[in-house]
Structure formats: C-alpha cells, structure tokens
C-alpha cells in the first residue's frame, strides 16, 4: 500500500500511510464523541423543560415552520449521500465526479442555511426573537382559528393559559440549538469548499482520500444531529396546517 504513496501524502511523523489514515479516522471519531456530548447536554436541558412545561412548549412548537424543516431534512440527507459518493470518487481517482459530488453536497448545505435564514426571518416578523423587546407583541393569525382577526401573541397566550416566559425559554432553546447546529453546517460548508478547491487544483489524489472520508464523517454527524433536533423542536406540538 505504502509503496504507491505520492510524495507529500505521508506526514513526517507517521511510519506509513495506513497509520496516518487510522490516526485521522480515530481523531475524527473522538471529535464526534465530544460533539455528541455537547449537543447531548443541550438536548437534555431542553427535554427537562419540555417535560416540565409540555403545554407551553407544544403551543409554541406548533408555530414553527415544519414544512421548511421537513424540506431541510430532505436536503441534508441527500447531501450526506452525495458526500459518500465523493469518497468513492476520490478513491477511484475520478476527479470530475469528485468535484461534482462535493459541489452538490456544499450547495445542498447552503440551501439548508438559506431556508433556515428564511425561517429566522419569519420568527423575526412574528416577534418571536427572545432577545428583542417586541417579543410576543406582534399581531399574528391564531393557528387555532384562521378566520379570526390577528391579535398579539401575548393576548393569544393569555387566552390559552400559556406562560410567556416559558415560550421565551422555548424560543431561546430553539435559537441556541438551531444556531449552534447552523454554525456546524457553515463550518461543514467551509470544509467542503476547501476540499473542492484541493480537488480542483488536483491535490486530492487517491492517496489522500482520507481527507474526504473524515470530512464526510463530520458532515454525517451534523446531519444526524439535525435528525434529532428536528423532531425535538418542530414536532413538540401539533401543527394545524402546513405553510411555507
């Protein structure tokens, strides 16, 4: 194996390329373990409050845009598939396929972030940003009664017996969780763009496929975290209709 390794692919402190690949893979798996504990901590904190305040959390979760979240789930899962194809393309030395797969993965991730930004904008419009003073004061339609004239969220919550400070708690968790996840996606897009650049310059030879492999491991994890985030936040309460 190591006989065919191109000069420079093996770093000076490793004995052979398999040792180097093993180290890179293990290093990434260890990093993913820390990520799981990192998100695990906030999933736990969120779950505690969801169990304490199920009614308030269900009500506000029903306001989130589950249609966009569903579409985003599709985008991320698809990007994981193309990322896996990229590893194979790199191993087989098919440069154009590699570049295509990486580009599609990166673009799908970018699409995810665009839809996420659109969702954030909707939250902004509805006065659901917990760090703004207009929290709960914007007039919006009541999802339980589409034909009623729009009233402020505070009035709707009061009528339903939902505590505004608990909604604020939910929205804080929502922005922290999706925000940290979004940050991971942006880092992932950066990594994919860098891989694409290396591939474009012809530096991603089959010897160096481990770079694509460990990046894909990270990308899959970020994807998998979304698969937990999405039901935790968006499906915590009933949605009365699907809107974009």
């Amino acid at each position: 194996m190591s006989a065919s390794v191109a000069a420079g692919a093996l770093k000076h402190h490793f004995e052979d390329i398999e040792q180097q690949r093993g180290a890179e893979r293990l290093g990434m798996w260890m990093f993913l373990a820390t990520e799981i504990l990192f998100f695990g901590g906030i999933f736990l904190a969120y779950t505690v409050y969801r169990l304490l305040y199920p009614k308030d959390f269900a009500d506000i979760a029903g306001r989130l845009n589950v249609a966009v979240a569903g579409l985003n789930t599709f985008l991320l899962i698809t990007s994981s598939l193309t990322m896996t194809f990229a590893i194979r393309a790199c191993q087989m030395g098919k440069r154009s396929t590699l570049l295509l797969c990486l580009a599609v993965s990166g673009l799908l991730g970018t699409g995810f972030m665009c839809f996420k930004a659109y969702e954030y904008y909707q939250d902004y419009e509805e006065g659901l940003m917990p760090w703004r003073t207009n929290f709960g004061q914007e007039k919006v339609h009541n999802p339980d009664d589409e034909h009623a004239p729009p009233t402020t969220l505070n009035e709707q919550w009061e009528k339903k017996g939902v505590a505004p400070q608990r909604v604020r708690l939910f929205m804080t968790f929502y922005f922290v969780m999706t925000g940290i996840h979004g940050l991971h996606i942006i880092i992932g897009i950066g990594v994919i763009a860098y891989l694409w650049y290396r591939g474009y310059m012809g530096w991603l030879t089959p010897d160096r496929y481990a770079a694509v492999e460990v990046s894909s491991l990270y990308w899959h994890l970020v994807d998998a975290i979304w698969l937990f985030l999405m039901p935790l936040l968006y499906l915590a309460g009933p949605h009365h209709s699907l809107h974009f």
Partner: protein, 563 residues
C-alpha cells in the same frame, strides 16, 4: 520548523549528527518564532510549562491574600467584596489555568509520544493550536479578573451569577469556555497518539502507567468538557439577557428556570474534572515509586485498569455535590453509594503502590519524596472524601472548611505534589541538566510540611462549623486559622527555593547523562538528554515491560543502570 519535515518517505534513516531533526530539540532553532510556531510536542510542553508556572504564581499569590485576610476574625486586609473576588479568582486560576492543563499540558505533551516510541503527537498542528486556544481563554479569564473580577465562586451558580452578581461573569465564563476547547484538543491528541503511534512491540500491556493514566484523563476531557461548554453557553446567554433587559430564565427560578439543572450540568463536567486533575498525578507516582524503589510495579494490570475505572465511575457520581441542593432523596442515596464505589479503584492504586515499595531499595531523592508525600496526603484527602459521600455527615460538613481541606488535600497534596515530582523526575531529560540534590530534598520536605500545616487545621475548622467562603469567623477559630496561614508561608518558602535551584541548574547544574535515574522507561532510551527533535534516531523496538527493575532491563532491552 520547516527544516524538521525532511523524512517524508518514512524510510529508515540513520543517525546523522546535526542533520535536520537530529539535534537537541532545544538547539533546533533559536528564534522566538521557532518557539511560537513550533509543532514539536516537546517545545509545546515547554511553552505550557512557562505559562503554567506564571499562572501558578498568580493563583498562589491570590491564595496568600485569602490566608492573610483570615489571620484575624474580622478579616485583616480585604473588604468583603474584595474577599469574594479574591477567592473566586484563586479558584478559577488554579483550576482552569493551572490544574487542568498542568500535567497533560507539560508532561503529557512532552513524554507521551516519547514513551510510546513516536516522533511526535498524532496531530502536531492541533497540539500547538491547543496552546494558543488555551492562551486565548486565559486572556479572557484574566481580563475579567482584572477589570472588576467575579464574585460568584468558581462554581458560578445561577441565579446569583446571572442576576445579582456585580462582576464580569460573561467575560470570565467565556474565557473558561474557550480553555475547554484546548483541553479537548490535548485529550484527543493523546488518545489518538496512544492508539495509533505506538512503536513496534509497545503493546498495551507494556504501556507505561503514566500513559494509561493520561489515556483515562483524556477520555474524561473528551467526554465531559463539552457538557460544561453547553452549560456555560446557556449561563452566558442568561447573563447577557439580564444585562440587555430581556431576561430569559434558563436557570432562574423566578422565570420558571431550574437552577438545579445548571448544577447537574456543571458537576457532570466538574466532578469528572477532579479526575482530570488527579489521574495524571497517579500516573506520575507509578513512575516515581518504581524507579526509586528499584521494583517492578505491583499489580500492573490492576493499576492500569483502575485508571480507566476511575474515569468511568467518575462520570456517575456528580450529584454528591448537590446533596443539600434539593435533589430527590432516592437520587441522593444512589449518588452516595456510587461515590463510595469510586474510592475502590483509588484504593486499589494506593495498595498497589505500597506493595511496590515493600522490600524495595528505596532512595529518597526529591522526586521520590514528592511521590511518597503524594501517597500520604492523597490518602488523607481520599478518606475524608468518604465523610462527604455519606449523606448524614455531608449535611453537617457541606460548605464548611472540611470540604476545603478535603479537596485541597487531593488537588494540592495530590496533584501539585505529583506535578512537582514529575518536574523533578523529568527535569534532567527535558533540559539535560541536574539540579542540586541537597536543596531539592529540602524543598520537597518544606512543601509537604507546609501543605500539611496549611490544610490539616482546616479539617478541625470545618468540623466545628466554620463555613467556606466567609471573610470573617468567631474568635475561637483564630488559632487554627493562624496555623493555616503559617503553613502557607512555609509552602511559599518551599516554592521560592524550588524555583531558585531549578533556575540555577541551567547555569551551574551538572550535565545529565541520557538516563541519570537508571530508569527503565522508553523516555530514557533516546541516547541524549535533552532528546533530539525526532526523539529517536531510529524507531525503537520495544521488547520489555516498562518497569523491569528486577531484571535491570530497559524497554529496548538494554541494561538500565549504564548511565
């Protein structure tokens, strides 16, 4: 730096004096940049050593202020608010800027790759990044402490820290948050290095116990630190929301938050973090005791696996910090039981160390004095921990000086002694010079005497009800408090002495041979002290266990006592 990256092909290379990578790591480049942009694990270890020494001095000076203030019952020099900020700064600096990165940062970096027979850590750039990230976090923490300080205690409990505290909570917490990343990077590097970089013949059963301990430590760093990160992130958000006038009650009960949840998340890290602080010390002690009693370690497998056992059980005991915080009675019972379990692997270690000493040819050089001091003081610290794990006695002793004495016996009597033992043991290998044998023995005895005198009276103080973190106390406690402060001055004298002869060793110290202690570990196998940049001229072949003192055999199969 670029000159060290020559052997790209991995082909066997022979000793060529002064060729790239084959000069002493201290002589491989002299400019400041050759240090600041180094990727050599040994130089990174030295960078850690310099900064740790600085932070230890700062933390020690803060402790001095606390002890001085407690000489008189009404508080001698500090206002109450200043006192709060002083002990908080002492805790933050000592824990996050000294104890947690201490042995992993210096000796983990410097010696784990050499002890497994590798040229460097698995990820050299990540390694230097960890130092910079740590410096960045330390910068924020120091900034917060200098511009107003924190008055929350190092535990940062909300809602006080987020609502009422008049200190720089967000800046300080952000600093601690950042140092966590550095801790994770070091831990990740050490785990991968031990898994993947071992030389031929270095099986898990031949791995030095220091590496086993560092492995267990790194597991905790990897798996616990992220939980602290998320807890601190939420704490910062809550503090910021209060500052901005749009309060969200993540942990604030007035806004339907749960302050006990923060304590759970905080201690889920911070209890295992206690083992981040003590496990590396236990690894060091296994090296010291075998070398200076010329004995094979008693029960290698038990000592090795008890490190992993401590790491695992250590994750299951966090709520014993919260027995009086209002957790459920059944949870308290369970955590009390589990806390007693964690004493089992610790006791296994102590019994095995003592058995190692039995009928050994013991010589009382400075590293050994520190090692023996560790066993005694750690055992006292560990046994008094059982009082605190017991529900009934904890209610009496919680938040008193008893607990302060307990954890200082473990952290300071344990970890700092082990750190000093490691400094003295590996100094000749790191710098190629010997320090004064006579003065180092005096220094070790002074330190151990000072520690005992400082912290032993605090057990009495706590048992009789003196609460921790109070700036003043009833007059009948004065005698014991003065004793404790007197102990501090003895320690101070010890530290000044140690710094003096260690610095003097650079100028007047005898040149150390490759193996001045006639030790058997692989770190003494490189033919020179200090080691060359690539550690070994050729990849070593390991043929023996790490402590073959009865056969007088090094791990590469040579006679150990040829100096």
């Amino acid at each position: 730096m670029s000159t060290t990256i020559e052997h790209e092909t991995g082909a066997p290379h022979h000793a060529e004096p002064h060729a790239a990578g084959h000069v002493s790591y201290l002589k491989d480049g002299y400019s400041i940049w050759s240090w600041l942009f180094t990727v050599d694990h040994k130089r990174i270890g030295i960078l850690y050593l310099i900064m740790l020494t600085l932070f230890f001095a700062v933390g020690g000076a803060l402790a001095g202020l606390v002890r001085l203030n407690l000489i008189t019952p009404s508080g001698m020099i500090l206002e109450n608010d200043q006192y709060n900020k002083t002990f908080t700064a002492h805790g933050v600096v000592m824990l996050f800027l000294f104890l947690i990165p201490s042995i992993p940062g210096v000796f983990g970096n410097f010696f784990v790759p050499i002890m497994v027979g590798a040229k460097d850590m698995a990820f050299p750039k990540l390694n230097i990044a960890s130092w910079y990230v740590w410096m960045l976090g330390a910068g924020f923490a120091v900034l917060a402490l200098l511009t107003g300080g924190l008055d929350t205690g190092w535990t940062l409990y909300p809602p006080y820290s987020t609502r009422s505290s008049h200190g720089n909570v967000v800046t300080g917490v952000f600093g601690v948050f950042i140092t966590g990343f550095s801790s994770i990077m070091t831990g990740l590097n050490i785990i991968v290095t031990i898994h993947r970089m071992r030389a031929p013949g270095m099986t898990w059963g031949r791995l030095p116990l220091f590496c086993w301990a560092m492995y267990a430590t790194s597991l905790i760093q990897l798996l616990a630190t992220p939980v602290l990160a998320i807890a601190l992130l939420l704490l910062m958000i809550e503090s910021a929301s209060n500052a901005l006038g749009v309060p969200v009650g993540i942990f604030d009960p007035a806004l339907d938050g749960d302050p006990v949840l923060f304590q759970h998340l905080f201690w889920f890290y911070s209890h295992p973090a206690v083992y981040i602080m003590i496990l590396p010390g236990m690894g060091v002690v296994s090296e010291l005791l075998t070398c200076f009693s010329r004995k094979n370690i008693f029960g290698y497998t038990a000592v090795a696996w008890s490190s992993v056992g401590i790491a695992i059980v250590g994750f299951l005991v966090w709520a014993h910090h919260m027995f009086v915080a209002g957790i459920s009675y059944y949870a308290a019972l369970l955590f009390s039981l589990l806390s007693m379990f964690v004493a089992v692997p610790s006791a296994i270690k102590v019994f095995n160390w003592v058995s190692t000493l039995y009928r050994g040819a013991i010589s009382f050089q400075a590293p050994m004095i520190f090692g023996l001091g560790f066993i005694v003081l750690f055992t006292i610290g560990g046994l008094t921990g059982l009082y605190l794990a017991t529900l009934g006695s904890d209610i009496h002793l919680h938040d008193t000086y008893f607990i302060v004495a307990h954890f200082h016996f473990v952290m300071v009597g344990g970890m700092v002694l082990a750190y000093l033992g490691a400094v003295h043991y590996w100094w000749p290998k790191m710098f190629g010079v010997m320090y004064s044998d006579f003065w180092s023995r005096i220094g070790a005895v002074l330190i151990i005497t000072g520690y005992t005198l400082t912290f032993m009276p605090q057990f009495w103080l706590g048992y009789h009800g003196m609460p921790r973190r109070y700036p003043n106390y009833p007059a009948q406690f004065q005698f014991l408090n003065v004793m404790s402060t007197a102990g501090y001055t003895v320690q101070l004298a010890g530290f000044l002495l140690i710094h003096t002869y260690l610095i003097l060793s650079f100028f007047t110290g005898k040149k150390a041979g490759p193996n001045p202690w006639a030790a058997t570990g692989l770190e003494w196998a490189p033919t020179e002290s200090p080691p060359i940049t690539h550690n070994f001229d050729t990849t070593p072949r390991v043929v023996a266990g790490p402590y073959e003192y009865s056969l007088n055999l090094t791990q590469t199969g040579e006679k150990a006592d040829v100096r």
